[in-house]
Symmetry: C2
Subunit: 442 residues, 2 copies
Amino acid sequence: MTSALLTDFYQLTMLAAYHEQGMTDTAVFEFFVRKLPPGRNFFIAAGIESVLDFLEGFAFTAEEIDWLAGLGRFKPAFLDWLGKLRFTGSVEAMPEGTPFFTDEPILRVIAPLPEAQIVETRLINLLQFETLIASKAARVRLAAGDRLLVDFGLRRAHGAEAGLLSARASYLAGFDGTSNTLAGMRWNIPVYGTMAHSFVQAHATELTAFESFARVHPQATTLLIDTYDTEAAAATLVPLARKLRAEGIAIRAVRLDSGDLLAHARKVRAILDAGGLHEIRIFASGNLDEYEIVRLLAGGAPIDGFGVGTRMNVSADQPYLDCAYKLQEYAGRPRRKRSEGKATWPGRKQVFRRFDTQGMMVGDVLTVAGDAQEGTPLLACVMRDGKRLGPTPPLAELRSRTRTQLAALPEPLRRNEATAPYPVIVAEPLIRLAAEVDAFGH
Amino acid sequence: MTSALLTDFYQLTMLAAYHEQGMTDTAVFEFFVRKLPPGRNFFIAAGIESVLDFLEGFAFTAEEIDWLAGLGRFKPAFLDWLGKLRFTGSVEAMPEGTPFFTDEPILRVIAPLPEAQIVETRLINLLQFETLIASKAARVRLAAGDRLLVDFGLRRAHGAEAGLLSARASYLAGFDGTSNTLAGMRWNIPVYGTMAHSFVQAHATELTAFESFARVHPQATTLLIDTYDTEAAAATLVPLARKLRAEGIAIRAVRLDSGDLLAHARKVRAILDAGGLHEIRIFASGNLDEYEIVRLLAGGAPIDGFGVGTRMNVSADQPYLDCAYKLQEYAGRPRRKRSEGKATWPGRKQVFRRFDTQGMMVGDVLTVAGDAQEGTPLLACVMRDGKRLGPTPPLAELRSRTRTQLAALPEPLRRNEATAPYPVIVAEPLIRLAAEVDAFGH
């Protein structure tokens, strides 16, 4: 459960002013991304379930209120009120796993101004990170085709929660599993794991390390063969694997984790095949991302699966999104920020998505909520009066929905390179509203 | 408290083999960074206190052991043993805030092999992230001179823990405070906060927003002036600030958050000065990092403080470190990994640092532990038998120590550009040991 105090201090200084001024009318905020990072063609919405959990549990503890009182910056009446503050508003959102594009809101909060404001920091923190990783992981899935993909990134994720949420986001986006055991327990994600170099090093010889490991894990053995010399290890393995096979112990795969993965995979495949071990798969890891996977597969690498870590879990080529959670309406009046390079579309908005007869996406329309447009509306109410409208969907269900959505992405958008932008038309009523807000002075 | 299950699944498959084989002799692992990222000249050690907390609390819950049992991959005897596993080893480390260089270990674990192995994932997760951010934040501090520096990055940090740990790491490295309120409470870090654009937008006019905010926070008001038109807002502010000043309410600063910060800061400074408001400071935020701060200050920007967010909190130009936690010794015998591009120095190591008569760092010697070299040894024992040797030092004390350490960095290393590497000499005894290990076959 996230502490309500995990927020920017300015939320509290603003709330003190709102409380004193009685500014508690309904506010509408929307979360959206302003720009596609270089080389990217789409985003995958994620983090919405985490946000709903956070909103349902929103509350300050007595200890937190006491600590705030000790700062000497807030009046007791405000702190009393803050201690009782809960989230009582509504949320409208796209389902997790939906592809989306710049300026399209993926989540809207409708609540009394102080409630909609105080949740800003954590809401951006969750939506930007999970969307960042789901968007990156979807590219890795598109690059890898149907090959096995496992999240290996916990160790270089930015802390514990980043490791957990990136395991979840990558599974949502199509990975087959994770090395992150706690994520496996929490969301029922398949867990994968083999051995480290230290396991080989701790044994007197590589061969004894392999044999011991295989005997302890007779059903699911993957052996790491690059600790000293990759091809020598593969050659050593051949007689051992044949002996174990005769005893009913199968080596499922070997893992390569360093050097020229393309060259090693070819040589190791040849050694295993020459030894009659066609059934042993080759699994590769080490500095992988969608670019490297495309390169390896284009080179004909006989690799059956990939462990993808750091570069996916920190979205290394673009470790943050230019995103915002902006006030769109207060007390019934649409609002718009006009700061240089940061102007936004005002009011409550809806996105309509159009598909061709094959079910492929052909274009979106961004318009004001309530405007009827052709296509499927993407935002729907998921929380009312601070309560979820339905149970949390199982992650596997969201994952399978994401798979369908990815299959509907136009082919050029699936590539690693930036292409002509997916068409998002801003409808006339929204353009009109922006002009009206500007004329009014906000 | 971190769950022990927050680990790579391969740690558990390896432990099952170690348990079955009775491989519980003493292992020595060291954490180090292999490469300086482009443009960087040093690292700042951080995350050590978090690691010690983790090791002291290490334990699986009964629920976690039950979940593992349900996987059907482990024998009951192993799971019984795992449920009782605690960390009983020793730790030697550099103090947090120490500058260090490639291949220098900053932390060593000496423990029975299974204990030293199972903690690997979380240990890397903490050390790499906190070191990454402290190293980045130290560069920002060196760029900003004595100006006010506040961490603004919680919203785009990778989850909750990343936000908390980056607030801590940046304060350690010399920031003055953070917007992250929970971090303020947890580590006694000064919290800073003003207002968001939404505050201005929610009011009928910018002027009413400014006045209301100032009256609610008469001691510490910073006003955000770029929601619509920065210079127009500054002009509007002049008569208001003079009126409030007459009533004893001081506007401390204005904040600029968009557009050309250099040009805006100059114009706003001129407007404020012309209005006799010399005491109002200018605070800038928005896409800042050490490069942008150097550029602004080189251009003579009249900026008194900076809010630095995203690019520092995700270390945007280099969001991960090429680091490792490697087995250096098992059962009394030094070990060495020789994978391509990933070979390591074997055995237990010590770093000696030499200073000139002015107290400036002049060079390090990397050698085997126990070898006597000139200089100050940097690693010292901080945990024995699974217990810290002393109380956790207050963060402010570590921060002040870091300040001294940064002041001893040779001038060229403080710049934003890569320079000639700081001299780290590998001593003869370590070179000899590596040759011996290779000759032996490990």
